[in-house]
């Protein structure tokens, strides 16, 4: 999967109102949310929409990066 899938998802999420960076790792989309997006992720509907947008771009799994321990 090319980096463009991650870029495409980043753009789609921005249009959805979620400011974040997406990293692609072995078919996984790792979402690094901006500070303002944290609250949105707590909403089940928002998470479903993120997953749907990611699957449209070929990702099988989507996870949100956690704060502490990140390199």
């Amino acid at each position: 999967m090319a980096n463009s899938a991650a870029d495409s998802l980043t753009d789609a999420l921005a249009q959805f109102g979620l400011m974040c960076r997406v990293e692609e790792r072995d078919g996984l989309a790792i979402v690094h949310p901006g500070a303002a997006s944290d609250v949105q992720l707590a909403d089940t509907g928002v998470r479903r929409q993120i997953v749907a947008l990611a699957r449209e771009r070929g990702f099988t799994h989507v996870a949100v990066a956690l704060g502490a321990g990140e390199g």
Partner: protein, 287 residues
């Protein structure tokens, strides 16, 4: 590779109590059995019914220990065995010595189960036990289960699947029999946390186990998997608990706990726990 467990004897839709009566009849027909026993929901129930039906002189529950078998489950298996007065034998298996297993192909379970049954079947023969049985259930038929072929090749029988026991039936009857496992989450081997094609090593298995234990220590209950993507741990929790664990104060603790076990990064899956999650990544389906 897909292996479908035979269901020619399945009797879905019948009362679990009636199924249990048929299971007892099935066991009496065999006379004596060796049970592949992990301490999980299915094999504990099967061993319990075998013990009640045949008595301790005609049942042997065997635990196959290896790096892919969680220590916590081992402890549970021993404790439950003692509580039931179940005759238990523990053997070491060595699937990590088999490069076909450690290469982690989509039929990895076939090589693991081949190693296991190659150890257990001779034990049954040496002790004069008539049949070797496992806890495969009727729901497993729909999963990707390459290990089932290894069982068939070694003559292992799966009465719970053949008699149509679903997981729900087994939990129902386990509760009725006061087994401590009745509500226990499913706990497949630790290698199931490593994506197919990515090597299985003792170090990765230990890291997965340590990370899951750390999350349990934090208070995670129910289904939990730490999927090992190299230096990234992808955490799957019950979907309904996402909001709780993603709250700012807790998410920091989750990440710190997991990264303390050797991961550089931790991420929380947005979909939450999915059995066989990594099958999706590899494009593997049960049917």
């Amino acid at each position: 590779m897909t292996d479908i467990i035979p269901t020619h004897c399945a009797t879905p839709g019948t009362d679990p109590v009636a199924k249990e009566a048929r299971l007892a009849h099935w066991l009496r027909d065999r006379g004596s059995v060796l049970v592949g026993y992990s301490g999980g929901v299915d094999s504990t129930y099967l061993a319990c019914v075998a013990l009640r039906t045949l008595g301790p002189d005609h049942v042997l529950a065997v635990i196959g220990r290896s790096a892919s078998y969680p220590l916590e489950q081992w402890a549970t298996a021993r404790e439950t065995g003692m509580r039931l007065s179940l005759p238990v034998l523990e053997l070491d298996t060595a699937e990590l010595d088999d490069p076909r297993y450690t290469a982690n192909p989509t039929n990895r379970c076939y090589f693991c189960k081949s190693t296991l049954w190659a150890r257990l079947v001779p034990v049954a023969r040496a002790r004069g036990l008539a049949a070797v049985i496992d806890g495969t259930n009727a729901d497993d038929v729909h999963d990707h289960r390459p290990g089932a072929r290894a069982g068939r090749e070694h003559g292992v029988e799966s009465p719970l699947a053949d008699l149509g026991f679903t997981k729900s039936d087994i939990r129902d009857r386990s509760r009725a029999l006061d087994l401590p496992t009745w509500a226990q989450p499913s706990s497949p081997c630790l290698a199931s946390r490593i994506p197919y094609g990515s090597p299985v090593t003792a170090e990765r298995l230990r890291r997965v186990e340590a990370a899951e234990r750390a999350l349990r220590d934090l208070g995670v209950t129910g289904d939990l998997r730490v999927r090992d993507h190299g230096d990234l741990a992808r955490i799957e929790l019950p979907a309904a608990t996402f909001g709780h664990w993603y709250a700012p104060a807790l998410r920091q603790r989750v990440a710190a706990a997991v990264c303390a076990t050797g991961y550089a990064y931790a991420a929380l899956d947005l979909t939450g726990f999915r059995s066989g999650s990594l099958n999706v990544l590899a494009g593997v389906h049960g049917e």
